[in-house]
Symmetry: C2
Subunit: 133 residues, 2 copies
């Protein structure tokens, strides 16, 4: 794994840590400021722009019944953008969602530019595997 991929996975971990801590300030700091941001929560339409995206996170993080853990994360990097694919669920062992998190580099740091989470029809019986190209 390259240093860029490791850094993208660390940024992804930071996102789920902020989620778990329900820390809106930390969540806010993880999202890009120099690039457009977009977000698709499970079942939701597309949110465009920092105001709409952060409003959604404030509402979600206020709900203390929401618990999300990340599992099986994989990072893919090309220059100034990266994306991570991972499972999400109340318990990492039984994910019910799958997410694509896109990051852009700002001043050397991977910042979230897009989050797309959606429902899985079935709980995966194994982490995704296979060749990488």
């Amino acid at each position: 794994m390259t240093n860029d991929e490791l850094a993208a996975l660390e940024a992804n971990d930071g996102f789920y840590a902020a989620f778990a801590a329900r820390d809106i300030a930390r969540m806010d700091a993880l999202w890009a400021r120099e690039r457009p941001v977009t977000c698709i929560h499970p079942g939701w339409s597309v949110l465009i722009g920092r105001v709409a995206v952060m409003d959604s996170w404030r509402a979600i993080l206020r709900d203390d019944t929401v618990r999300i853990e990340c599992s099986s994360a994989r990072a893919y990097v090309a220059g100034e953008m990266a994306y991570v694919v991972c499972f999400e669920g109340a318990r990492a062992e039984a994910p019910n969602l799958v997410a694509t998190n896109v990051f852009g580099r700002e001043q050397g740091t991977w910042k979230l530019v897009h989050h797309h989470a959606g429902h899985l029809a079935d709980v995966p019986t194994a982490p995704p595997s296979g060749p990488t190209n």
Copy 2:
């Protein structure tokens, strides 16, 4: 809109044209060869690698009940990677899915590296709008 964004939207249109035409050779040509590819169909787990991804498209394109049109596409570019967010549905006017399509540049051309489509809980009453950052 920048030329890069326009080109990413054209690549995105090409993807939905291949989908509509059920043209597996054209679909295959749209996906990256020099970069890893991944794909998340609605409700499915993550498919990793060209073999798994193309097998899935062969199965989907064989099913002549599947009709998908794209609407409200927006492109976001950073260097060698771009992503497009759009709605999908049997009719563009009544989308029931939302997609994130990630592209990587190969020899000057945007190629699909990742497709993630998921269900919308409700038909959007308007295209997404808002500031771009």
